[in-house]
Symmetry: C2
Subunit: 114 residues, 2 copies
DNA sequence: CAGACTAGTTTGCTTTACAAGTTAGCTGAG
DNA sequence: CTCAGCTAACTTGTAAAGCAAACTAGTCTG
């Protein structure tokens, strides 16, 4: 329980994370959802990840290639595009700004104990 | 331009920031929007902040007191409640988890240079 | 009085996460 | 052969949150 990631906090972040993940290697949706959990994003539902990948493809941040799988239906691999790399770098810059702002806010504010 | 904070990245974060801000002192909406800009959250629109405060009051994370202002209409000061402090602590925990996850992801992934 | 500033509210739009359900291929147990 | 269980992807509909824009109103200065 405790630290389940609030659905709202994820917004916007997830797309950035996918761009970073796909920077190194092409992956298909099912593998992405497994990879994310190794980074602490436990159980991001497939109802979240697949539609997001489709949207990103429409925005031309990703392109896709179908390849047969040894264990089941055809896989759809996603590859990052030049526009995707640019979006990734913008995400990193914005993320850095945001975390700095929040860190400052948390430092400056003496929190009441209870 | 460059680092204007993406609207999506803010989601969920803003409520946590307000809880932290209001942990130390009661503030009214107009002052909050000015205080936020000193923490790097430049120009969060009033169309964002006022509705959020009302929602948080409905959720009983905040309560409000009206006090006359020397410079204009009556101010509505917001005070954090016990439930608000609990929500604040949960936000801090979740925020910490999220930033750790993203940091790990960014480290592990060697980013292509362009 | 007019304009600028302070202060708060409301309406409607857009994006995004997600639950839930659907389709479909493969493998191994019985 | 059949069925369960896993792999793999897509679709529909809903809710939350940020925000633009418009509106109401009080105060202060020129």
């Amino acid at each position: 329980m405790a630290n389940d990631l609030n659905t709202q906090l994820l917004k916007g972040t997830l797309q950035g994370c996918l761009l970073i993940l796909l920077s190194r290697q092409k992956l298909y949706g099912y593998a992405i959802s497994e990879a994310l959990s190794t980074f602490g994003f436990a159980d991001i539902p497939k109802g979240t990840i697949y539609p997001l990948l489709l949207t990103m493809e429409k925005k031309q941040l990703l392109k896709s290639e179908r390849q047969p799988s040894p264990d089941g239906p055809t896989r759809k691999y996603y590859v990052i595009t030049a526009a995707g790399k640019q979006a990734r770098d913008e995400f990193i810059a914005q993320w850095s700004t945001l975390t700095n702002n929040v860190a400052t806010l948390m430092q400056k504010e003496a929190l009441d104990e209870n």
